[in-house]
């Protein structure tokens, strides 16, 4: 059973179609990345999953329920717009959000100190939120999101504005949760972070899904025709090889582009015969390239 199931969901604001016929199945125990350019409909989709806004049509299921309302205690949601009560103390904020997420008092008195320790804010427990630095505020925000030990974590642009240390902390917690069999949905446009973290990728543009698959399969299906090599010797012949369409060189380093039908192994063979090969790498397309490629193509179609 999937943790989250979207079935042909539509949502428009006035004349703007924010989400158009979106269907996604998020399996339990995975990290699912919602990628897309700004204004693609990522935040709207996450808000609909949280039942903060309602879809115009289509259905959303969470843990098999038809609405997130019943499941809110089992979800941790970190919105793109972060904020906490500035006049309350750190410990009180954490306790309050735990309480409205349905945690009992004695459970809270155990969890709050544990989380404060985990995010290294124990000494700040009785300080007001407005006294925290930006980085501390972000850590507290994440603790607020996860205080109820959620089975499903929904993070909207979690890396926006985070310093590298907090980014690593966040990633470690996400991976740990995934390994515990919990589900994480995150939206981002930081491709290299998504590449390292996600099991599944949903690429949205203009409210529509343009790619939805396992990350590994996405990458393997898009074999590249670019080979990166380092050679020693007389390399003038490369451009004249029949399968090569372009060569870029930078000292010993070459980027060789092959024709669509060409085999990279054949190229290696012809190189080894003539020169010394120090390094040979068939380039795997980065998520960034796939993203730019697909979004660019989809935008070109429209115009």
């Amino acid at each position: 059973m999937g943790a989250v199931l979207l079935n042909s969901v539509h949502k428009s604001f006035g004349d703007v179609l924010a989400v158009n016929n979106l269907s996604v199945k998020v399996p339990t125990g995975s990290i699912y990345g919602f990628l897309g350019p700004n204004g693609a409909g990522k935040t709207t989709t996450l808000r609909m999953i949280m039942n903060i806004i309602r879809p115009d049509s289509g259905s959303i299921e969470i843990f098999g329920d038809s609405s997130a309302e019943q499941a809110k205690a089992r979800i941790g949601y970190m919105p793109e717009e972060r904020g906490l009560y500035r006049k309350m103390t750190v410990a009180k904020v954490l306790t309050y959000f735990g309480a409205i997420k349905g945690l009992a008092g004695d459970e809270l008195s155990r969890r709050v100190p544990r989380w404060l320790q985990r995010i290294d804010l124990t000494n700040w427990a009785n300080k007001k939120v407005e006294e925290l630095s930006r980085g501390m505020h972000q850590k507290l925000q994440f603790a607020v999101t996860a205080i109820n030990d959620p089975e499903l974590l929904i993070l909207d642009e979690p890396f926006a504005g985070l310093d590298p240390i907090n980014t690593d902390l966040l990633k470690a917690i996400m991976l740990e949760m995934r390994n515990e069999g919990k589900t994480v949905i995150l939206s981002t446009h930081v491709m290299h972070e998504a590449e390292k973290l996600c099991d599944f990728i949903l690429l949205i543009n203009k409210g529509q899904s343009i790619l939805d698959d396992k990350l590994a399969r996405i990458q393997s299906q898009r074999t590249s025709h670019v080979v990166s090599v380092e050679l020693e010797g007389d390399t003038g012949f490369i451009g004249r090889l029949p399968t090569v369409t372009a060569v870029e060189s930078d000292g010993h380093h070459f980027e060789i582009t092959l024709a669509d039908s060409a085999d990279t192994q054949q190229l290696l063979q012809s190189l080894v015969e003539r020169v010394r090969v120090q390094r040979f790498e068939v380039k795997v397309p980065s998520l960034h390239e796939i993203f730019v490629d697909l979004v660019g193509a989809s935008n070109a179609e429209d115009s």
Binding site: M50, I52, E69, K72, Y77, L84, Y85, I100
Partner: protein
């Protein structure tokens, strides 16, 4: 329900801690007390120093000179710091010379008032004419004093003409009144002073004002609370844990508690002060019960409207233009309270009782004014108010849900109507 209570609890505690709340709870009674204290002081201040006032008089009857002089001498003797100097201005009847002369002196400030007594003043058909030049508000009580002295002089002269003794007449006219109130709590009959009567009349107003402050004053906290959650962007984090309706209900509940706290503190303080001053104010359990019912319903109505307003605005400033018309409605009872207290069963009072936003204040005014309102009328007003509260909360919840995540442009009337239609 658990969540609603948690939200209410936070709202209550955090509001109690704010400076504006503490200031409000202390300042308002002080301000009211201060205003009463100073106005009573000001009106009593009739002995303080004042520059000498110059009055010219033309006595066409030619018989009042002695009496006028005697009256003003008496006044000047009694008020050594507030002298009035009188001078005679001879003139023929119907002559403008004296009047023009007086007009010049008035204009130059040498005279403050010019008085002409008609020739037939003593027969009862003539008038006292008082001429002033661009009178200032601060001078009006002087003119009133001058008029009184002249009137007394004329009346005294009339007595003399009839061979009546002014002293005897004053004696004959003197009848002291003692007002004794029976049925007080301690079983003692009490002698009332003038102030007691005044305060008795103020009691209904005080009750209505308590309702007003409890509803409107606490409503301000609702606006600032919603706006704060919007500007600090905490709202979406909240909505990940609770539904918009739970959030709104929790806020209303928490702030309703704040209002009850404030109102009972003020009422308690006022009651204790009244007892301390020896005033006998009867508050029946019935009135207290109605007070609580009307307060709660009125607060629910007002605060759900304010929650909706807060949700569709981004700043306190934006809310103000929307608050205006609503405040106007709530101020109506404050403006018409005197009429309602005087005739608590009149048409005006009855009509206002059934206009839901006015119901709590007007009904408390009528009940505390000692009117025996038919119980059916009371229940009908409560039912109508309760139904309005339900409708308002239903609509407010819809607007709140739509507005709470809107930033930037404020929702227009058309958008609000659309979200009301959507189920």
């Amino acid at each position: 329900m658990q969540k609603i209570l948690k939200i209410a609890q936070r709202e209550y505690i955090e509001t109690v801690k704010t400076k504006s709340f503490i200031l409000g709870i202390v300042m308002v009674p002080f301000m009211i007390g201060g205003i009463i204290f100073f106005t009573s002081r000001m009106s009593l201040d009739k002995t303080g120093p004042r520059p000498t006032v110059n009055v010219a008089v033309t006595d066409l009857s030619n018989e009042l000179a002695a009496e006028i002089k005697a009256s003003f001498d008496k006044y000047n003797q009694e008020n050594p710091k507030r002298q009035i100097r009188v001078q005679k201005l001879e003139a023929q009847e119907d002559s403008d010379t004296a009047k023009n002369q007086a007009r010049n002196k008035l204009g130059q400030g040498q005279l403050d008032a010019y008085v002409v007594l008609d020739r037939d003043i003593l027969e009862g058909s003539g008038k006292i004419h008082l001429y002033t030049y661009k009178p200032k508000a601060s001078n009006l009580d002087i003119f009133w004093t001058i008029e009184n002295i002249f009137r007394k002089a004329v009346v005294n002269q009339r007595y003399k003409m009839q061979n009546l003794s002014p002293e005897l007449l004053a004696k004959l006219r003197h009848v002291p009144i003692e007002r004794v109130e029976m049925g007080s709590a301690d079983g003692q009959d009490r002698v009332q002073g003038e102030t007691d009567r005044f305060i008795k009349m103020m009691v209904p107003f005080f009750f209505m004002y308590l309702i007003f402050m409890g509803i409107v004053g606490t409503g301000q906290h609702m606006i600032s609370s919603v706006i704060e959650e919007k500007t600090s962007r905490v709202i979406e984090v909240l909505l990940s844990a609770v539904s918009p309706f739970q959030l709104m209900s929790g806020k209303i509940l928490g702030l309703g508690g704040i209002g009850l706290t404030v109102v009972s503190l003020w009422a308690g303080a006022a009651y204790l002060t009244a007892r301390w001053q020896g005033l006998n104010i009867d508050i029946t359990a019935e009135l207290a019960l109605y007070f609580v019912i009307y307060y709660i319903l009125g607060f629910l109505l007002f605060s759900s409207i304010l929650a909706a307003i807060g949700s569709i605005c981004n700043t306190i400033k934006e809310t103000q233009s929307l608050m205006m018309p609503i405040m106007m409605v709530f101020i109506i009872p404050l403006l018409s309270w005197f009429k309602i207290v005087q005739s608590p069963d009149g048409t005006l009072a009855r009509v206002f009782s059934f206009l839901p936003p006015l119901t709590p204040m007007v009904m408390i005014l009528r009940l505390s004014a000692g009117s025996d309102i038919w119980i059916v009328e009371i229940i009908a007003s409560i039912v109508l108010l309760a139904l309005t509260v339900l409708a308002a909360m239903w609509a407010a919840a819809k607007v709140f849900r739509a507005g709470i995540l809107m930033y930037g442009k404020r929702l227009g009337l058309r958008e609000i109507c659309r979200c009301l239609r959507q189920s």
